[in-house]
């Protein structure tokens, strides 16, 4: 059980995300079996591992889309598992991008980006629109503001989805296999956008199958299998000299 404590004010020298012995079960199926790690501000963390190992579940626990069974998750010292959690406070700090983009199909690209700041944060429309246009430019989609998601390519939709998350001005971005549904040419555009974000100092947690990208961009790589972190370390160590046989086997299959 999480002990309800007054959150200490968070300072940037403390971990921005901290997981302590997180367990998650769906019924009888234990998907996370005691996961602990921490992410520093500005760090880029990649999570790799075979499908079904609990990567999506892990990342969803961090913004409380999935409630944990036991353990502690702190985001800027906010206890995510606290039943009295202020979800709005948490979710404006944590942006999330999904594999299937999940844009709102009845709204244009620009409206998709503007919706949450306007209706959730009740910010001024003019200011939000200005920011949304700037974000569309940032993801290199100027000119597509008034296009509906159905008329955009997968890569374009995914970049709108990134802009939509950024519009809430999060401190952390979570990416769950955001290029897995894209065709190879458009993967590059999306990875380019993520790289830019990372270089600007955004704290990023990525679940990815793009091993070269992970190796290139990550400060730290976690290899998960069957609900546990098997091995972690700097990308060069993980990719060049994995110690655990499971990591070795996985990498030999995907590289």
């Amino acid at each position: 059980m999480a002990v309800a404590t007054e959150p200490r004010p968070w300072t940037p020298d403390q971990p921005i995300i901290q997981l302590i012995d997180v367990h998650k079960s769906f019924g009888a199926l234990e998907v996370l079996k005691g996961v602990s790690f921490s992410v520093k501000k500005g760090e880029v963390v990649c999570i790799i591992g075979p499908s079904g190992s609990g990567k999506s579940t892990l990342i969803r626990c961090i913004n409380a889309l999935v409630p944990v069974t036991s353990g502690t998750i702190l985001v800027e010292n906010i206890e995510v598992a606290d039943p009295k959690l202020d979800k709005l406070a948490l979710r404006r700090k944590v942006g999330m991008v999904f594999q299937q983009y999940n844009l709102f199909p009845h709204k244009t690209a620009l409206q998709n980006v503007m919706m949450a700041p306007m209706h959730v944060l009740h910010q001024d429309r003019g200011e939000v629109e200005e920011r949304a246009r700037a974000l569309m430019k940032k993801v290199r989609l100027t000119g597509k503001e008034h296009t509906y998601p159905g008329e955009l390519s997968g890569g374009q939709q995914q970049r709108v989805a990134i802009a939509r998350s950024l519009a809430m001005r999060p401190d952390v971005m979570l990416f769950d296999e955001v290029t897995a549904a894209l065709d190879p040419e458009t993967v590059k555009e999306v990875l380019f956008t993520i790289r830019e974000l990372a270089e600007e100092g955004m704290t990023c947690m990525l679940v990815t199958h793009e091993m070269n990208f992970a190796r290139d961009i990550a400060d730290h790589v976690y290899f998960t299998d069957r609900g546990v972190i098997v091995e972690h370390g700097p990308p060069d160590t993980i990719f060049s000299a994995p110690r655990d046989p499971r990591t070795q086997e996985f990498l030999s299959q995907v590289l």
């Binding site: 944590v94 942006g95 999904f98």
Partner: protein, 285 residues
């Protein structure tokens, strides 16, 4: 038709019938257009006229009877439309509430709304109409003010009950058909469930709900003639009265009721076509 196109088969019709076989047209299955409706109406009038011409009488011809009474009959028809629109408005509002209630996380509310929907969806409309006619008083008193409830108001309420149940089912189905990933995306952007429903889910559902909703409207319009059974002066009631006023002549029966049918057809057919077009368009997207 050349023999080349019709190889002789054991089950082929007698050759003598072949010339009468209708070639499939370019359009495929014959489609009805408003012009057909006009032809239908004209045919009806002609039929009435010729039937009359055979009888030797100085009384008004059926066509003249229709023309004479058309203003009254059409005012009755307008009443049918009014009842259908009000019933639809009430039923849609209530149905939206009941439909969302069925989707509520509150199990009691969800069960109650589900039961309401099932009950009113599976009761004959006429029986519901009778119930409302007999259970609702002819006037109600609100804050000392007596509000009379004429029969047509009660009938409208009676029709709005099945509308409510059907709309509730349309809403429930449409909301359920939106992928759960839309809810997740909204949740991750800090939308509350209520905001998600009204700003993200329901607007997406409008497209899916419109064709069945318009279809329901057509059905309600046609059902409003049932109000004649409980004495509302709508078109069917007036048609019967006109028939009596004209001496109940048997040869007037078909023209008068044909006129009523024609009015409903003219009104409902375009709605039906439009619905089909919407359906096709939404299907392609």
């Amino acid at each position: 038709m050349s023999p080349k196109n019709t190889p002789a088969r054991a089950d082929a019709p007698l050759p003598v019938l072949l010339p009468f076989r209708i070639e499939p047209t370019r359009l495929g299955t014959p489609r009805l257009a408003p012009v057909h409706a006009l032809l239908f109406g004209a045919g009806l009038a002609l039929l009435a006229g010729t039937a009359w011409a055979q009888a030797v009488d100085t009384r008004l011809s059926p066509l003249d009877v229709i023309i004479k009474w058309a203003p009254l009959l059409l005012s009755g028809f307008a009443f049918n439309i009014l009842i259908s629109m009000i019933a639809m408005a009430i039923g849609t509002g209530a149905g939206l509430g009941v439909g969302l209630g069925m989707l509520s996380h509150n199990p009691v509310l969800a069960r109650v709304c589900w039961a309401l929907t099932q009950f009113f969806r599976n009761a004959p409309w006429l029986v519901l109409l009778f119930f409302v006619m007999f259970l609702v008083p002819f006037q109600i008193t609100v804050f000392g003010v007596r509000i009379p409830l004429p029969d047509w108001v009660k009938a409208t309420v009676g029709f709005s009950l099945p509308v409510m149940a059907n709309v509730a089912e349309i809403v429930r189905g449409a909301v359920r058909s939106v992928p759960s990933t839309q809810w997740e995306a909204a949740e991750s952007l800090a939308f509350t469930p209520r905001q998600t429903m009204w700003r993200i889910i329901l607007p997406q559902c409008v497209k899916r709900m419109l064709p069945p909703w318009m279809n329901l409207y057509s059905l309600v319009t046609m059902a409003t003639v049932q109000a004649s059974i409980v004495g509302v002066s709508e078109m069917l009631t007036l048609t019967a009265q006109v028939h009596t006023a004209e001496g109940g002549r048997p040869e007037l029966f078909a023209p008068l009721y044909g006129f009523a049918m024609f009015c409903f057809f003219l009104y409902c057919y375009p709605i039906d076509r439009f619905t089909a077009r919407l359906e096709r368009r939404f299907h392609i997207r």
